[in-house]
């Protein structure tokens, strides 16, 4: 048969579909987005006896009556309703043998699609461990389609599956017995559809889809016809009059059919027959979701996750950054000083470095996430935390993305992919950058170290803690607002399946790390690189007037030859002064002046404005930018010269420019503001457009302005300046 339009892998969530996809396609995979939605499209190439074919790994779905964008995409691909994906030539229905009944429900719908189909009976090992033997041959006879037992992670049965696909047939839909009254209504409705132009063989199936409450796109043009809408209304009224609920009746009928199939094909071993024995998973759950031990273990696991991405990733990030910087120096070493050299070292290589620096955190977080998800613990973590987070409109699964955001919002926003519910996922991504990330710490350290150096540890610690707490409180309020105002029409039920515990597969963990890191680098990375180069150009141009540069050099010239050490200091001072003048005269410097009226109410002048603009590259760049602005050079780890320069700065009237109130205002600004172009780039990638990142940028920075304004005036009133 001709499989050139591709095969689709369909199945419930947690049925081992992705492992099977990996086994079928190897590393020849591509991850993209379905146009217009934030659903990942995973495709790969499988070698079949007939030749190579495209395989698409559809999002996990419980039913073809979709309740989320993921499920809608799966349904539309299977029904051939998407212009971006050709209708599949054949379907591999992945069925979890250890959870046969519920998996067969989706299969009962897949059998009606009229496409060639093969069942891959997965996780037979887990079913066997429970003493449930599923007889594949008997099952095949009952379902009327080939049933191939596979163990995805051990790659057994893959060849048999390939062979079965090559000769797959269109199945005959099974016949579940419906009450006579319902059948009569279906037939009447089918007749109306027939006259409305639906081909005869599809009429009855389509009639039952209407009565089952299906709202797929292919039904809409029919409902638009008055006679169909009217017949549907009449059928529903008739059924209601005799107390028949079509949705429940049809679902129950499928499950009765499923019960008869499982009764015939599943040999329950002694453990199941006794019934009193709890499964392995339930025994583990007794500890892992226990009110005391469960929360304790949860805290331990989350603490190690945080330590890993906060501290373990740190030296790796240093190594990556150092390597890129060294490479940049090596590449540009032969070039003359000038625009090209600066573009390469401060634009391109700095941009590449800004992308690469996130790789350790992303790789580690997604490695850990894969372990937690594959093992089945992620669902338990969500189960434990859901109460806390659902109060503000988030999901139990929001916990890890938000926790990760205390290290960095980039992996945090990406980790929100594990949340199926679209509103809860979006809300999580929108509030993640309010968590104080590690890039804010150098800013907090500079401000608190400069202005509160002589205060007790209690005050300093309290200020840091206050910054973290402010972020969390504002995040909670924002999430709650999202709950009230976002997509109120859409209802996605909270269905959290607690899957069977399994040992995570090293190959799958490594694959997750690889796929997520490379997608980040190729998708978000290009945007980050482009934005870094733009930011570079704005600070590099226009060039300092040569006459002015000569004047600065003359100021710093020494009349007498200096000793090597003194000459180095002199040269450093001259470079710092030149850098200061260059930045002040650049577009960034001018823009600092332009926004001064806007930030003056917060207690800032143009120099701080320049720092804020520079901080869009990354928040900690505020510190180094202020170093350049104050002519003390890039301060590195030692803030002291910058602190001195800041404290010495005076306004025109002679009063101190930087006061503790200004510092508090800046702290509030940095807690609340979206100051990170990399986060904007990742938001664009994860939400599939500019709409949400721009909205987030405007929202957070407006909020930051209001917060900093209030903090400045409050601090002035309290501190009495």
């Amino acid at each position: 048969m001709d499989l050139s339009s591709g095969i689709a892998l369909a199945g419930n969530p947690n049925c081992g579909k992705t492992t099977l996809f990996n086994a079928l396609t190897g590393l020849r995979q591509k991850v993209a987005n379905y146009p217009g939605v934030t659903v990942e499209k995973k495709t790969g190439r499988a070698e079949l006896p007939s030749g190579p074919v495209m395989v698409v790994d559809l999002p996990g779905t419980y039913s073809l009556l979709a309740t989320s964008p993921d499920e809608r995409v799966a349904m539309e691909v299977l029904r051939g309703l998407r212009s971006d994906t050709p209708p599949p030539a054949a379907i591999v229905a992945v069925v979890d043998a250890s959870n046969l009944a519920r998996n067969l429900y989706l299969l009962s719908q897949l059998l009606e699609l009229g496409r060639p189909l093969v069942v891959a009976l997965n996780m037979t090992d887990i079913a066997a461990r429970r003493g449930q033997g599923v007889d594949a041959d008997l099952l095949a006879r009952h379902l009327g389609v080939p049933v191939i037992p596979v163990v995805g992670h051990r790659r057994t049965g893959i060849d048999a599956l390939r062979n079965a696909l090559a000769s797959a047939q269109v199945p005959t839909a099974p016949n579940w017995s419906l009450p006579d009254g319902l059948i009569a209504e279906l037939e009447v409705l089918a007749q109306v559809l027939r006259t409305a132009g639906v081909p005869a063989p599809h009429c009855l199936a389509m009639a039952s889809r209407f009565l089952a409450g299906d709202d797929a796109a292919d039904l809409a043009p029919l409902v638009a016809k008055a006679e169909v809408a009217e017949a549907l209304e009449v059928a529903r009224d008739h059924l209601a009059a005799c107390g028949v609920d079509p949705e429940q009746t049809m679902i129950a009928a499928r499950y009765r059919w499923i019960d008869s199939v499982t009764a015939a094909c599943v040999r329950a071993g002694p453990t199941m027959a006794a019934g009193a024995h709890r499964t392995y998973t339930e025994r583990v759950d007794a500890v892992l979701v226990h009110p005391v031990f469960g929360l304790g273990i949860f805290a331990l696991i989350m603490a190690s996750l945080f330590v890993t991405i906060f501290w373990v990733a740190d030296p790796l990030m240093g190594v990556f950054e150092g390597a890129i910087a060294a490479l940049g120096t090596w590449v540009t070493s032969g070039l003359a000083e000038g625009a090209l050299k600066s573009l390469l070292s401060d634009g391109v290589f700095a941009g590449v470095g800004a992308v690469i620096v996130f790789v350790p955190q992303i790789a580690l977080l997604f490695g850990l996430l894969a372990i937690l998800e594959d093992s089945g613990y992620l669902a338990r973590a969500a189960f434990l935390m859901d109460r806390l987070l659902s109060k503000v409109g988030l999901h139990g699964k929001s916990f890890i993305p938000l926790l990760s955001s205390f290290a960095c919002a980039i992996p945090g926003v990406m980790a929100a992919r594990t949340i199926e519910n679209p509103r809860e996922r979006l809300a999580t991504m929108l509030v993640a950058p309010f968590m104080s990330c590690s890039a804010r710490l150098p800013v907090y350290a500079l401000l608190i170290g400069t202005f509160f150096a002589h205060q007790g540890a209690l005050v300093k610690g309290g200020l840091v803690l206050g910054c973290y707490a402010l972020g969390v409180v504002v995040a909670a309020a924002t999430a709650y607002a999202c709950k009230l105002f976002l997509d109120r029409g859409a209802v996605t039920p909270f269905i959290l399946e607690l899957p069977t515990y399994k040992a995570p597969q090293a190959a799958e963990v490594l694959r997750q790390m690889w796929v997520n890191t490379t997608t980040f680098v190729t998708r978000a990375g290009t945007t980050i690189l482009a934005l870094t180069v733009i930011l570079w150009a704005l600070a590099y141009y226009p060039r300092l007037d040569p006459a002015q540069a000569a004047a600065i050099a003359a100021q710093h010239a020494s009349a007498v030859p200096l000793a090597a050490e003194a000459e180095q200091v002199r040269q450093g001072d001259e470079d710092h002064a030149l850098g200061q003048a260059q930045l002040a005269g650049s577009y960034v410097g001018r823009f600092g002046h332009t926004i001064e009226p806007l930030i003056a109410p917060l207690g800032y002048d143009w120099k701080m404005g320049v720092g804020l603009i520079g901080a869009f590259a990354a928040r900690e760049v505020f510190v180094s930018t202020m170093g350049v602005v104050y002519g003390v050079g890039d301060v590195g780890d030692n803030d002291a010269p910058l602190s001195v320069a800041i404290l010495a700065d005076r306004k025109a009237d002679g009063s101190a420019l930087w006061t503790p109130a200004v510092a508090i205002s800046l702290l509030v600004w940095f807690v609340l503001a979206m100051q990170c172009l990399s986060t904007v780039a990742v938001m664009r990638r994860e939400t599939g457009g500019w709409r949400w990142p721009l909205l987030q940028l405007v929202y957070m920075n407006t909020l930051a302005w209001i917060g900093a304004f209030a903090a400045y005036h409050l601090a002035n009133a309290v501190l009495g300046t």
Binding site: Y105, A252, V289, F383, M385, R387, V491, T492, I495, L496
Partner: protein, 63 residues
């Protein structure tokens, strides 16, 4: 279990998850913070928030 109340997508999905009339449902536990709850339905473990679990009508039988 006797029936699922409510209407629309949520009710349909609960039915589709196997909560059909006549089926046995076992309440295993509440989450430590009180919500959601964990059920055993048709041999698998399902967790529902209280507001959705409230739609599921049950008759109690001794375990």
């Amino acid at each position: 279990m006797t029936s699922v109340l409510g209407s629309g997508a949520i009710r349909r999905r609960l039915l589709e998850m196997g909560l059909t009339p006549g089926i046995g449902v076992e309440l295993l536990r509440r989450a430590p913070l009180g919500d959601p709850i964990e059920l055993r339905v048709r041999g698998y473990l399902l967790s529902l928030r209280a507001d959705q679990a409230a739609l599921v009508q049950l008759t109690l039988t001794a375990a």
